[in-house]
């Protein structure tokens, strides 16, 4: 009965093998990871593309709606002289709130992580932190900046600059080095605030990070890309 013995052995082996296979498959399923790294990468890439398309569509809808609103508003104020003043005030307020593209004289600050030849051995000294950006923004606001933008993100009333591990998030959008901080305001005052002795840029540049400020005659700052939503705010009478 040699054949029987062979069959039983093979059966037992297959039994052990399938147990191991099932356990492995279960483990991998629960770990939510694919064996092939490239497959996981591709799935992520697909997901990103889908989300991007969704975002683009939503953004286009928003732009269309805004155009429509503008048109309706214009039509409504066309034959009314008192409404024209209101329209003017509305436009100005929208500009201040960050809802329109603005331009004017100002400065541009460039902050960039240090090159590998930094004098500091501490890796934390060699990168731009969110607090550095906050300090620069504070300095600019203190010097009378009227509009500030960081890597295309306009700072508005509801803006926040937060640290999320290895990235910085402004207005909920991720931004990374190098940081271009543009501010509209009095050129000399903004420039002076950032280049005085012991200024924040000196502190940032101390360990080899790039921190430069240049005067720019005509800065264009784009509008806030999100929506300003006030749900709980009410006027106190």
């Amino acid at each position: 009965m040699k054949k029987k013995q062979i069959a039983i052995t093979l059966g037992i082996m297959c039994f052990l093998l399938t147990i191991a296979l099932c356990v492995q498959i279960k483990t991998m399923n629960s770990a939510n990871s694919t064996v092939s790294q490239s497959l996981a990468d591709n799935e992520l890439r697909d997901e990103v593309l889908r989300m991007k398309e969704k975002y683009d569509n939503a953004y286009r809808d928003l732009a269309n709606a805004q155009k429509e609103l503008e048109k309706v508003r214009q039509e409504a104020t066309q034959n009314d002289s008192t409404a024209e003043a209101k329209e003017q005030a509305l436009r100005e307020n929208n500009m201040i709130l960050g809802r329109t593209d603005v331009q004017g004289e100002g400065v541009e600050v460039i902050l960039e992580d240090a090159a590998s030849t930094s004098s500091s051995l501490n890796a934390s000294d060699q990168i731009i932190h969110f607090s550095d950006i906050q300090l620069v923004v504070n300095e600019l606001a203190n010097a009378g900046a009227e509009a500030i933008e960081i890597n295309g993100q306009r700072l508005v009333n509801t803006s926040s600059i937060t640290c999320e591990g290895n990235i910085i998030r402004i207005n909920g959008e991720r931004i990374g080095t190098p940081f271009y901080i543009r501010a509209i305001g009095s050129q000399s005052r903004l420039y002076g605030a950032l280049t005085r002795a012991g200024s924040i840029l000196d502190a940032i540049a101390y360990y080899g990070n790039r921190a430069e400020v240049t005067k720019v005659d005509n800065i264009v700052i784009s509008r806030y890309s999100g929506t300003l939503n006030y749900e709980y705010l009410k006027e106190d009478k």
Binding site: K3, G11, L17, I19, C22, Q24, K26
Partner: protein, 129 residues
């Protein structure tokens, strides 16, 4: 007979394996390489049975020995920062394909001529188990 045993083993194994507890994720790499080694042994065993040179001792020691050895090699590779398990996978999967080729040729000859000619089974490599 042999295939009935294999299928029976697979079905029972699957039924029990589904209800088994999960192992820790860090050990799943070792289990995976052991599975590949065992799979290679099983295919080797099947092709050896068809070739009529099946040896139970070689099969059993090959099944457990290869699995344990490949786990140890993977562990060693992790300690040395060398992906030794890749070499193990190449060897085992290569042999698996060889054994599958032997099995395939055996059945093609058996069914095309309608009479088994066991001696004419040819594989590029006559691995035992």
């Amino acid at each position: 007979m042999i295939f009935i045993a294999i299928i029976l083993g697979c079905v029972i194994g699957a039924l029990i394996g589904v209800n088994m507890p999960m192992i820790s994720y860090s050990y799943s790499g070792y289990l995976a390489i052991a599975i590949i080694a065992a799979l290679d042994s099983v295919f080797g065993g099947i092709s050896a049975t068809l070739n009529k040179n099946f040896d139970l001792k070689i099969f059993v020691t090959g099944f457990f020995g290869n699995a344990i050895l490949s786990i140890l090699l993977t562990y060693l590779g992790q300690k040395l920062n060398v992906d030794i398990y890749l070499a193990a996978i190449v060897v085992f999967v290569g042999r698996m394909f060889n054994n599958l080729a032997i099995i395939r040729r055996y059945y093609i000859e058996k069914f095309s001529k309608n009479k088994p000619k066991d001696d004419k089974v040819e594989g590029n490599n006559t691995e035992k188990n």
